[in-house]
Chain length 460, copies 2
């Protein structure tokens, strides 16, 4: 039996213990965007440091102005080194009443088709994915006492909140973080049977827009009919963003957008994604994107404008006949290759200012962003990882773009000068960012086995 | 010295004690629309019952399926009886951070021009107003041992929440509530020096509109660009309600609207209300109502459609890149003479249904309403009350319409068969329903004195 086979057999034999460790990690409510959970974020980071130190890695909790960053480094003298990236922070859990099981009490629950799922906030995004790699290293070390490649593991705690403190950390630690290839585990498979390596990600620009009309909330009896209502004003501007053809009407929004080569579009066409298969499970039937674009284009190669949250006036129980003074929208734009986040931020702001009626003012409270990234198709490690995945899953990995954003991938390229292979085992129905987030037990188990194979493949 | 003068002198001498009682009443957070405050509502009712019983009135806390109704009756054998109406419930206090003084810790604070103000939630709407009448009765009873007219006092606890339990209460108690005239104290003066008797009120229809797109919240990376966003959908429909000329585009919305006689419009014209005087203090300059209508028309004789609250998606701290499943709007329409609340509710609902795109559904959760009311101009008590007010304030009372709604006034007419005189001492800058609600000390003091004079006048 080869080392590789013995390690894989150990992964299988130790799966229950691996799950126990993951569950302990999932129980920590490390919601990064809400300051109330700051202690829990640190606790999650420390949990991981302790676990990695137990493997004999040089593990450390690195303080930042925000949540700390976990690093762990092996010093085995291997010929090659990989840098692994993931995040231990998770999304907020509201609306809490829609969770069938408390979000931080992980459970194995059998899905409708008998598939076992790990259900908890962070199970898929990203603690479950992080632990596939950690468990692969653990099995290798247990069986062989070493690893095929040296590893540097970096797991941050602010991915769901813009990763603001990671770029300066990369800058100051770039020598220690040098590696032959970066591996990022925060993406999905094509489907439950088809592994995928993601080579492009949309960028993100988010902003918070506050429209003010009167200098205080008004009684709708006294003032109704005469006084401007910021909820009406904000609605009118938002309504003007998308034309009836789904095109975004903000001047300059599409400046510089790069169209994928026809060959790539043809490959996407062949994947046969339909509105029924993609939108059906979420209760929708009709894509609302630009007329004439395919679903894959709408969700990976075309930019978006989305209102992620909107509020104003009385939103408690019962009725209150108020004309509010203020209305607020949290918006975000998914960006594609060729778009500059600052240009987009300014274009969005100009659009809101231009549509503002008399007596209203607008403020913008956020405006952060990161550009889209595209990883080189001829990175030599791509072929090696692809072959390793094919060995595990019995079919070739598809090479795709993703609609989501992992800002750090762009910084890997810019600061460390290296491409990252984005390999993950999440599925599109994992409900990440939503109530009842899950990670298939098979994603976790075969994910660990996949990393065992990839570590072996990258040694050569 | 006449009885009247001695009573007025006693009002002046006892003002501090009157304020102490009002402050005790104001300290009870009787927010009717939020079930969390149900005990406080009962507590406020009981406080008033105890106070009225102390005056020797037959006072009672009447249970209802909602908050209880206070009644108190004198049995002095007077030739005439008045029914006084007010409410002890108050509006919610959010946004709490905008209050300069805690809303339920009443204080006398000097305003910018040296005018003393009672600052607290409910100071003006309506506990302060209720206590002007109670204190007038107290002074009369103290000085003369009797009242010029018998009084029936009815103070409800659900005015800010639709007064749903008052109509059946009126129906079952109509014999006990019989009186020669009803007096409603929940309105404003024309200005700080000019008393007013209000003879018409706009009605109200309110509804809660829930738009659902996907069957769960979505990750805007995976689904953004393809999946419908209910915040966009709701914004588009709200944006379509008002045309650029301020006209409401809902088919059938203006059906049956009665135009006031030209003579009435001329009287309003003469009051010289300007955008500067009316909107200036709230930081606005331009009326947004229908082109060609005066401010008084916009706010009293023309109907409105207003979004009072809107929310959906992530509204906490930080950013969350979600496409929500659900977006909700609380809306209300102010109605004028000739409009039927049910017809308006159905017209609004039909408009939302007609504008709903594929894949979205809409639910309506409220849809309550009450029509506008107009009190007869030739009610004989109008002249008597008007003369009494002129004696107190040194100038005639103006007879006006109000933009707000007091649903109970319609029920007085329908169930008890009597018109109500709406006389109140609030001012337009009282910030009712808003942070920092206040009631001028003069409103309270001269309000008490006004009721003393009105009680005397109505005896004849």
């Amino acid at each position: 039996m080869s080392d590789l086979d013995r390690v894989l057999a150990t992964v299988d034999a130790d799966l229950d213990a691996s799950l126990e460790r993951l569950f302990a990690f999932l129980r920590i409510p490390s919601i990064s965007t809400d300051r109330a959970y700051a202690d829990n974020c640190r606790q999650a980071g420390q949990w991981l440091v302790d676990d990695l130190a137990g493997l004999g890695l040089g593990a450390k909790l690195n303080d930042t102005p925000g949540h700390p960053i976990v690093t762990a480094t092996s010093s085995l003298g291997a010929a090659r080194r990989v840098l692994f990236y993931g995040h231990y922070d998770v999304q907020p859990v509201d609306p809490l009443n829609l969770w069938e099981n408390p979000p931080f009490e992980p459970k194995i629950i059998e899905g409708p088709n008998g598939v076992k799922r790990i259900v908890a906030r962070g199970s898929s995004d990203d603690k479950g994915q992080v632990m596939t790699f950690v468990e692969a290293c653990r099995a290798y070390l247990k069986v062989t006492g070493t690893l095929p490649v040296d590893v540097t593991i970096m797991v941050e705690g602010e991915e769901e909140n813009g990763s603001g403190n990671l770029p300066p950390f990369l800058e100051t630690h770039k020598n220690e973080l040098k590696a032959d290839v970066a591996l990022v585990c925060d993406t999905s498979m094509w489907d439950a049977k088809t592994p995928a390596i993601t080579v492009s990600l949309r960028g993100l620009m988010h902003d918070e827009i506050v429209v003010t009309c009167a200098n205080r909330d008004l009684h709708s009896g006294y003032y109704g009919g005469a006084a401007a209502n910021p909820l009406h004003v904000l609605s009118k501007i938002i309504a003007a963003v998308h034309g009836p053809d789904g095109h975004i009407a903000i001047p300059g929004f599409y400046d510089g957008v790069v169209e994928p080569p026809d060959a790539v579009k043809a490959q996407w066409e062949a994947l046969g994604m339909t509105a029924e298969s993609f939108l059906g499970p979420i209760g929708l039937s009709q894509p609302i994107g630009e007329t004439g674009r395919s679903l894959i284009e709408m969700t990976t190669s075309r930019p978006t404008f989305e209102v992620n949250g909107l509020w104003g006036g009385y939103i408690g129980e019962g009725a209150k006949t108020v004309i509010p003074s203020i209305a607020t929208a949290k918006i975000s734009c998914r960006l594609v290759a060729g778009q500059d986040p600052i240009h987009i931020r300014d274009a969005v702001r100009a659009f809101f200012r231009a549509h503002l009626p008399t007596d209203c003012s607008v403020e913008f409270l956020a405006g952060d962003g990161s550009p889209a990234v595209a990883v080189s198709h001829d990175n030599p490690n791509l072929a090696k990882a692809s072959a390793a995945l094919a060995d595990e899953w019995g079919k070739p990995a598809v090479v795709i773009g993703a609609g989501g954003s992992i800002p750090i991938v762009g910084h890997f390229k810019k600061t460390l000068g290296q491409d990252a292979l984005m390999i993950g085992f999440a599925l599109d129905d994992d409900r990440i960012h939503s109530p009842n987030e899950k990670y298939d037990l098979a994603s976790f188990h075969k994910g660990i086995r996949s990393w065992v194979r990839i570590l072996a493949a990258l040694a050569n």
